[in-house]
């Protein structure tokens, strides 16, 4: 099965193809938050470099969030429309789970941390046992203290994702977890399409891919206006 994978939830967009032999080829954009402009040219480039035509693509995989709301939507709407035109299915790949895969051989806990602002992070944590990715706690928007509480004393943890580039977050983690805290190098910490392709293929094979109408993003957070309205309604009660 040839799968086209898309990752646009962070600052740099990327596209990858995983082919019948499970060989993955990836291209990464140089533009910072220029996903709308760059994504289709990236798709075109990765196809060309794989010597493939779009019509040979048998499934789409898209990083469905969490991450930048706008980024998620550019990836998801592109994935949906490609699937609609090509008449193929979409794998909604959990962003944090895919990016953790990059560190499967770390030998401890792998913890993606995305800066969610307003003092929160989008996070989940995994360990890799034999061939299995085991979830320590589910993806969610957490305060840093909540993450620390879940991880302290559990052995070595490697933190990945753009949250690591935020000094306040990094210092907070380092202060609490100390020598057991490791941080992915800056050129390895950002999510890219390669692992979206790997996990996407798994989802397709397992029959978990959905139609272009059903495919959904995962923001992990309501819009600010909705939250404010709910607060207001609670206050009135």
């Amino acid at each position: 099965m040839n799968i086209l994978a898309i990752e646009t939830t962070a600052a740099f967009a990327s596209a990858a193809i995983i082919d019948k032999d499970e060989f993955v080829h990836e291209v990464i954009s140089e533009g910072n938050f220029t996903h709308l402009q760059n994504l289709i040219p990236l798709v075109d480039q990765v196809l060309e470099e794989c010597d493939m035509k779009l019509s040979q693509i048998e499934g789409i995989a898209v990083s469905r969030g969490p991450g930048s709301f706008t980024g998620i939507r550019i990836g998801m709407s592109t994935a949906k429309a490609l699937a609609q035109a090509l008449n193929v299915k979409v794998a909604e790949v959990p962003t944090l789970k895919a990016m953790a895969l990059n560190f499967y051989n770390f030998g401890g806990i792998v913890c993606p941390i995305l800066d969610a602002r307003r003092n929160q992070v989008y996070s989940a944590a995994y360990t890799f046992e034999e061939d299995e990715q085991v979830e320590l706690y589910p993806e969610g928007a957490y305060f840093l203290d909540e993450v620390i509480e879940k991880l302290a004393g559990k052995g070595p943890v490697i933190f990945i994702g753009d949250g690591v580039s935020n000094d306040a977050i990094r210092n907070g983690l380092e202060g609490a977890i100390g020598r057991e805290a490791f941080f992915a190098a800056s050129d390895k910490r950002i999510q890219t399409a390669e692992m979206v392709a790997v996990l996407g293929l798994e989802i397709h094979k397992a029959g978990g891919a959905v139609s272009y109408v059903e495919a959904q993003p995962e923001y992990l957070r309501k819009s600010e206006a909705e939250r404010n309205l709910e607060l207001k309604k609670c206050g009135q009660k």
Binding site: L39, D44, L54, T70, R73, K80, Y212, V213, S223, L229
Partner: protein
């Protein structure tokens, strides 16, 4: 790129997409004039609760709605993806998060179907709605574009040649209607509700200022008129005098409409144009339609005003605009097409 012949050998079929504000729309338009389908999924009821369009919520709903809306447009037109000759999409101006959904979708479809993609200016689309409503209409003409975000007078010299002669210096006409409607407690969206209430009022009951600016100016300014209404209401409230809301609505509407109509007629005469073309959501206003009709008749000017469904945001108008760009030799924006919150006409 060279113009390719139409796939069916006779007519160009455009799939058009619009998502610049709170309507998700897709249409199939033949040769820029004949509408085979025009599906509009409105989010008005969702945003009502917030008293205005919330960009993040609008973007989320566009993402959910757009693909089924496209399917429905194709189905109603009785065509499939293979019949499409080119794709037109609103990529400017508007809410950026909302524009992104239509633009990303259109790009992916154009790429996968290997057809040209045309990025369309939303306001050009509003003007081109008239080519659908009036099959004989051709430029040149004078156009008054009045919507939630625009109050613009343009001299339309050709299908793709627009000169902006006047613009609002503060509130757009629709914005002024909405704000006055809000202080009258009419709800959202206020324009149509104010229009309805005004029918029961006396437009000469209260004199609100008509702002014409400099003698030769074609610009508009509605914030002064709006403030006049606020001051009037506050004055009444302080004196504990009763207010006739219908009179206020009718008088405010009359003040805004008078300026819009007089400037439009003056521009048409100055440029020697024998047609005035209305565009945008406020063109649905009954007082504007009636007054403009009277004044045009007095001055021997033909008036075009699209039916209401083509006045507010819809994709068919984008299909019309895209067609004329396509014919002009704009045979496709690149696959690096972007979206823009603001853009010149």
């Amino acid at each position: 790129m060279k113009l390719r012949p139409p796939k069916n050998g006779k007519e160009y079929i455009c799939l058009a997409i619009e998502s610049s504000c709170d309507e998700t729309s897709a249409a199939v338009v033949v040769n820029g004039r004949k509408v085979l389908s025009n599906i509009i999924s409105s989010q008005i009821d969702i945003h009502k609760e917030y008293g205005g369009v919330v960009p993040e919520i609008a973007s989320r709903h566009h993402l959910n709605n757009i693909n089924p809306v496209i399917d429905e447009a194709l189905e109603e037109a009785g065509i499939g993806f293979k019949d499409i000759d080119f794709i037109g999409v609103t990529n400017r101006p508007g809410l950026i998060g909302a524009l992104l959904i239509g633009t990303a979708t259109a790009k992916a479809l154009a790429y996968a179907l290997d057809v040209p993609l045309i990025g369309v200016h939303h306001i050009r689309g509003h003007i081109c709605a008239n080519y659908i409503a009036y099959p004989e209409l051709e430029p040149p003409f004078t156009s008054l574009i009045v919507s939630g975000g625009h109050s613009t007078l343009a001299d339309v010299k050709g299908y793709n040649e627009y000169e902006i002669v006047g613009q609002t210096r503060d509130d757009a006409a629709g914005e002024a209607f909405d704000k006055v409607a809000r202080v009258l407690g009419l709800g959202y969206p206020g324009g149509p509700l104010l229009d309805k209430l005004a029918k029961e009022g006396d437009p000469e009951a209260i004199h609100f200022k008509r702002v014409y600016l400099e003698n030769d100016s074609y610009d508009f300014s509605f914030s002064g008129t709006k403030t006049g209404v606020l001051n009037y209401l506050n004055g009444k409230r302080q004196k504990k005098e009763p207010v006739n809301d219908a009179d206020v609505a009718a008088s405010f509407q009359a003040a805004v409409v008078e300026v819009l109509v007089n400037k439009s007629i003056r521009l048409a005469k100055e440029r020697g144009r024998d047609k005035i073309v209305l565009a945008g959501g406020v063109a649905a206003n009954s007082c504007l339609r009636k007054t403009m009709e009277e004044k045009c008749r007095e001055n021997g000017i033909k008036l075009c005003m699209p039916p209401l469904i083509l006045c507010t945001d819809n994709a068919a108008m984008i299909g019309a605009a895209a067609y004329y760009e396509f014919m002009e030799g704009n045979c496709g924006d690149g696959m690096d097409l972007d979206a823009y919150a603001t853009a010149a006409l």
